[in-house]
Each structure stands twice: as C-alpha cells, then as structure tokens.
Symmetry: C2
Subunit: 427 residues, 2 copies
C-alpha cells in the first residue's frame, strides 16, 4: 500500500499571491522522490480555524504524515505551532534551553546586521518561538525558528505532524533532520521508489497527443501519465513503480512513432540541452534583446556555472542603444522599424561581435500593451541566432499580455538556439 | 455574515511545481476585492478521488461558492467537468451546439498555426470538451475550453461549483461572464467591500514589528493584519471593512511613530515608487549588471510603459564585456577584481554614459555556488547608482543560494535607486 502525505501551506501572503509558494511543490517533489504519494496541498491564511480544518481534512484522508510550512515567526499572526500542538492534544510550554539557543542566534544576527532591536522585542518573540508541545521533537533552527515533529497524544490515533518554517532556505536546510526524526521515519517506512520521467514535444497541440494516448491506453498499465502545455512546449510526465518500466518504454515508442522529430527530448529541459551543446563545443553565447528586456540573458545565466558559456547580453530598449551598443545600422532601423527580421539578425550579429562570442542571439518585438499597430500587432516577435557555421531565424505572433509575450518570446529564443545547435523541430 | 468561497486548483503539474499556480492567488484577490472571503485553496493532482475529496472538504466548510481551475483539456487526465457534474448529482452529455462552436474555434486555430491535426484528434477532444452536466450554465470558451456553472441537483442543498479553465488568460477572460451567471450572482449576493492596504518597511526585523503590534493590539479591532518578510522588505497587509478605517489610521500612526523613515511606503511598491520618481523628473535609467545577469533590467522593464524611462541594460558577465561594452577600466578590474565597490561604480557610470541615460545602476557580486573565496564569499555584492546630481552605493553580504542571491541583489538595487531618488531608509 502506498505511503501518503498531505501538506498544509500557511500564510495569508501565500493565499493571496503576494508571495509565490515554493514549499508545497518542493516538498511534493522531495516526497515523490522517496516514493511517498502527495495527493493534496492545502493553502490557508493565518487563521486558526482555517488551519485546524485543513489538518482535519488531511487526517481524514488517511495520510501517514501531515507537513505544515510557515507560521513560525515571532508575530501574533504566526500560530502554526500552537494550533498543531492543540490539534494533536499536546499542550505547549516554553523550552528554556531552546529559548537560550534561539536567543544566541538572534543576538548574533542582530550584531551582524546592525539592527537596533529593542530587548523586549527579542524576548517576547523568542519566548513565542521556543514554545514546544509536550512530547514533540525539536528540529534545530536554521534561521531563528525551530521545526517540530508533533505526534498525536497518547491514547489517540492519527499521523504525526511535521511543522517546518516558511522561508524556503530554512525549510530545505531542516529537511534532512526532519527525515531522520523517529516519528517521521516510522510514518514513511515502507515507501517504495517511484520513477518520474519526462518526454518533451515542441509544436504539436495537446489534442494530437490525446489521440496517441488513447490508441495505446491499454498497454500503459501502471503508468500515471500527465500532460502539460505551456508556451508551445508539451510535456508528458509519467510516474511509475520500477516494475512498469516496460510499459514506459511502450509509451515512449508510441510517442516517438507518432511525433518523430517533434519529440526533442526524453528527459533534459531545452535549457539543459542548449547549455550542454554549447559546452560540448566550447562555444560562448551573447544576447542582443529588446522586447524581452533582459529576461533571455537572465534565463541563460540562471544555472550554476553559466559564466563559463554566457559572456553577457545587452537589453537594448531604446533605438539609440541598439545602434550604439550593438551596432544595428541606422538604415536597418529606418527601413523596417525596430521590429523586423533584419533588426533581429543585426542584434544577434552585433551581440556576437561586441561580446566576441561564438553564438549571438537577437530578439525584437512588441510586448505591449501599447506600441502595436495593424501591421505589427502586440505579440509580433522576430528572433535570430547566428553561429560560427550557420544561422536560424523565426518570426512569430505570440498571444497573451505583456508578461506572457515576454516569457514566450524568451522560450522561443531558447528553442531557436536548440534548433541551431542540435536540430530537432523548428522553433 | 461574510460570504465565503473555496478554490480547488487541479493539475499534477501544479501540485509538483512544474508549473507555478497563478490562478489560486488571482481568484483569491479578485474575490477579496468583492468582499468575498477565501480561507483555503486546495491544490490537487489529476486524480478523481483527490478532486472529489477536495470538493467535499470545501462544501463541508460551508462555503457559498466553490471554484475549480484546470482539467478542462482534451486529454484523458482532464477530468474536472465530469467529476464536478457527478459530485453535484448532474449527469453529463454532449451539447451538440457547443460542440459545433468549439469545432469552429479549433478549425480556426488549426489553420492559423499550421497544425497538421488528425481529424479524429479534434473530434474526440472536442466531444469531450462539449460535455455539459444537465442544468449547468455554459460559459463561452475564451480558448477552446468552455467554463461551467454547475448548481447542486434539485432536492439537494449545497453551493454551486464554478468550473474555470487552467490557462490564466482564459480564466481571466472568462471571469466577467462567470460573475454575471445567475447562480454565481446569487451565491455572492450580500458580500460587502473589504479594503486592503499595505505598509512597507525596509530594514527592521519582524520581531521589532511584533512589539509595536502587541503594544497597540487593543486598538486594532476589526483589522486583519498579516506581516510578511522577504528580501529585507517587511510588508504589513491589513484587510478591514469600511467601518474600521479609524482603527487602520491608528495602526499606521503607531508604525510610523515606531519606525519613522523605515516606513518607506503606505501603499505603492518600491518598483512603482522608483518608476514614478523617474517619470516625475523625466529621467531615463540604464543598467550595468554582472551577478544579476539581466534580472535587474528585466525587473525595470516589466511594467507597461517602461520603454519611456528604461533605455536598456548590459549584463556584462565576462570581464571583457565589462571593459568593452561599459568602459570599465582594465586597471579598476585588475586592482580590486571584478567584484569591488569601484567596479560597481564604473558599471553604473559606464551604463549611464553608453546609453546616454540620466541615471546609471551598477551591480557586481558573487552569485555562487562557485567563485567564492575567504575574502569574498558567495553573496558578496556591491551596488552603485549615479544620477545627474548625486550618487549612492551599498555593499552587502547576501544570504542564500544562487537564485536567492540574484533576486535579493536585484531588490537591493531597486532600493538603492529609491534611496537616491526619494530618500528614505538606506538600501
């Protein structure tokens, strides 16, 4: 029988989207990799009754472990530890030794950052953070907040609740200690490895993939297949126990047979493929971008080690910048306007030459919401890549609002790089 | 009594974080603005029983309306419409007129994008998308998927379920029609306006704010106050009914009295303040960034209309790029290395001069995970801004992994711009 966990993400700032939750997905993935099934993540605001009902719901679903994130800070709206203690039937009290350890951390941070913290602020906040439900296991703070493993009160039945802090770095830093805690180990014992593999298609619509999946449906027993379309990429993510490896091979064969070259990856993301292809040849890359405003360079420099292959980029928003920094000829700008295939090529060539890179990428377009015309509506994008022994170009009408156009144009540029370096379906 | 809604976000890709959910937060905020309270968002994968139990949970909480997002596509893992229909006790069947309308949309898209779609793919997918529970209201497709309003079966009691598509542009495009549908109007009738205001502090730790909030606690009846710390910014978000306006004024006065200049905004974000300050003076800005790799330029160009004030930016990853594109003197690079206060200033001055901007911003640092040393550990960042009548600089030791260092350095740069343009707490 599958081992199952449920997650409660707390925080009004997460519920309302002021902060994007990174903990729910991170935990779901970390648990999946250990073979633990997560069916539901509940996001709740900082209200006692909403948190309580979320705990009740997950316990009622019969999960083996409940994990909460957030609500461990020093302010009054941070109430997770107290609510979980009460829920598990274990009254809380201040742990004096823990209080001293948190005090030491706060004193060090205060000195380090030059805070002028009122002593009573520290005292009240720390006493709050040092309250521990009776019988709970304390997980040492990574920041200032300790984590907790709170078993259900003796004489009652129910899963333990693992209480983790909200800042992702603190939560992730505490994760190994959480897994090692005895109640968590017991709860997750017996989980078996689940594999997860991804097939990536560029181009075809989801409806065509649906036909393929229906055709081979009865050969896919043991696979949990989900498909996801975003920015023109169609991902097929499959989870399965090791004994379904042959079924997965059948799925891969069917998709490959039906889509051929559009199946551009049986694993790595397009970003990973492009980075590896550049590194294999020892090539460097530079960017000349306009409507994407720095996003393409930011994406290429996101991975660790990218400084070995990315020399840099110019976000040339103003026409004068295109001329001065990337040597786009004034007559090219005058002839077709700043948004034209010729300017995309000139941006790629200018970036390549000015940075002394092996490969140059150029992007120009209209992100909107203003600046569109009948001729060149919002979403018009031209892209070009120029390398030592070849070039590629693409023009597209991208749908969506300003942010969508910026993001999709960036993805198009990465696929154009993939096309030049590795072939596969045209961007 | 408050009108309440619950949200179910479906999609294994969201549950596992391959796609960040934008719909839950968007809906929570859209509902809040209408005075509808959202206590919980449940994220579920594409599994029938997980979706069913989430619906049961929210209905059990006594909400007036349940909203689902996603799971309306043509593939077999898209099962929201069928599950909701069954849950509400209303059997589904194909609506032939709707099927024809979807067919027309798909045919147009197919022609537009040059898909080579097999006819049977369209037929099967469209028939699936045209299935409507008996008695449900159809919301016309914005993409290819129609939305639904599904009341509970006659003779039973329970809230209606509003079924919306997953792509954010489709969901948002369908929202006005959803609000206008009679069952939704009835469910939300009686909701009263809730105000939401934000105070923003730069610098103080959350524990100091906790003291202030405790001190004035008994003067804040009717306010729902939540605090959130991220990247050095401390946000205080308060919701209240119009009759608590005076309590909110007391909160603002207390925070202002205790924190003075650190309270840098009673509303707008730092990005909005900087943009307005530049526009007020008619000033332009340009960026010379290294460790942030394009993120700062991307952030400054994110708002609509930014092309009027942002001339562009150079992400100068390689030292050669710093010299050639931004005229950082070789001797400055040699003297203190590429990560030094002098190089930050040279990047700012170089960007200002090369782009012909009024204000230049420079950022250099070590994002990691490699490249750190005892002298200059990972997270070392130097920033500078140079304007027509002044300059400002900041050096910092930023905590966290590569992505956190990149993001926090970007936020620091925006606050340094704020400091130069508007004063307030030092970045």
């Amino acid at each position: 029988m599958a081992v199952r966990a449920g997650i409660v993400v707390t925080g009004t700032e997460v519920l309302t989207g002021r902060v994007a939750d990174r903990n729910g997905p991170w935990l779901a993935e970390a648990l999946r990799a250990r073979g633990v099934d997560v069916g539901q993540v509940v996001v709740v605001g900082d209200r006692r009754e909403d948190l309580e009902s979320a705990l009740e719901f997950l316990v009622g679903r019969g999960v083996d472990l409940v994990i909460t994130t957030g609500g461990l800070g020093p302010t009054a709206d941070d109430l997770t530890a107290a609510v979980v203690g009460a829920f598990q039937g274990r009254p809380s009290s201040v742990d004096p030794a823990l209080e001293q350890r948190i005090l030491a951390v706060v004193a060090r941070l205060t000195a380090l950052r030059g805070w002028q913290t009122a002593p009573e602020a520290n005292a009240a906040g720390i006493a709050k953070q040092a309250r521990v439900p009776a019988g709970a296991t304390v997980l040492e703070p990574v920041g200032t907040a300790p984590g907790l493993v709170v078993p259900v009160a003796e004489g009652r039945t129910g899963p333990p609740v693992l209480v983790l802090p909200g800042p992702p770095a603190e939560l992730q830093g505490m994760w190994p200690a959480a897994l090692a805690a005895e109640p968590v180990r017991r709860a997750l014992a017996g989980a078996t490895e689940l594999r997860q593999r991804t097939l990536r298609l560029w181009g075809p619509p989801e409806s065509e993939l649906a036909v393929t999946l229906r055709r081979v449906e009865d050969q896919l027993a043991g696979l949990e297949v989900t498909t996801c379309l975003r920015d023109g990429e169609l991902e097929i993510v499959t989870r399965y126990a090791p004994d379904a490896e042959e079924a997965y091979a059948r799925l891969t064969a069917a998709v490959s047979a039906d889509f051929g070259v559009a199946l551009y990856s049986e694993g790595p993301s397009v970003d990973e493929l492009v980075a590896a292809a550049l590194d294999d040849r020892g090539w460097t890359v530079a960017v000349g971008e306009s409507c994407t405003g720095g996003l393409l360079t930011a994406r290429l420099t996101a991975p660790a080690g990218s400084s070995g292959r990315v020399l840099g980029g110019v976000a040339a928003y103003a026409d004068s910048a295109k001329e001065q920094l990337l040597a786009v000829p004034a007559e090219t700008l005058a002839a077709g306007g700043a948004v034209s295939p010729a300017v995309a090529t000139a941006l790629a060539e200018g970036a390549r030459r000015r940075f002394g890179a092996d490969v140059g990428v150029g992007v120009t377009g209209i992100a909107g919401p203003g600046g569109g015309s009948l001729d060149k509506p919002v979403g018009t994008v031209h892209l070009a890549v120029v390398g030592p022994d070849g070039a590629a170009a693409k023009s597209a009408a991208v749908r969506g609002g300003r942010e969508a156009v910026r993001q999709r144009s960036t993805t198009l540029a990465v696929h154009l790089l993939r096309q030049l370096l590795l072939g596969g379906p045209p961007a």
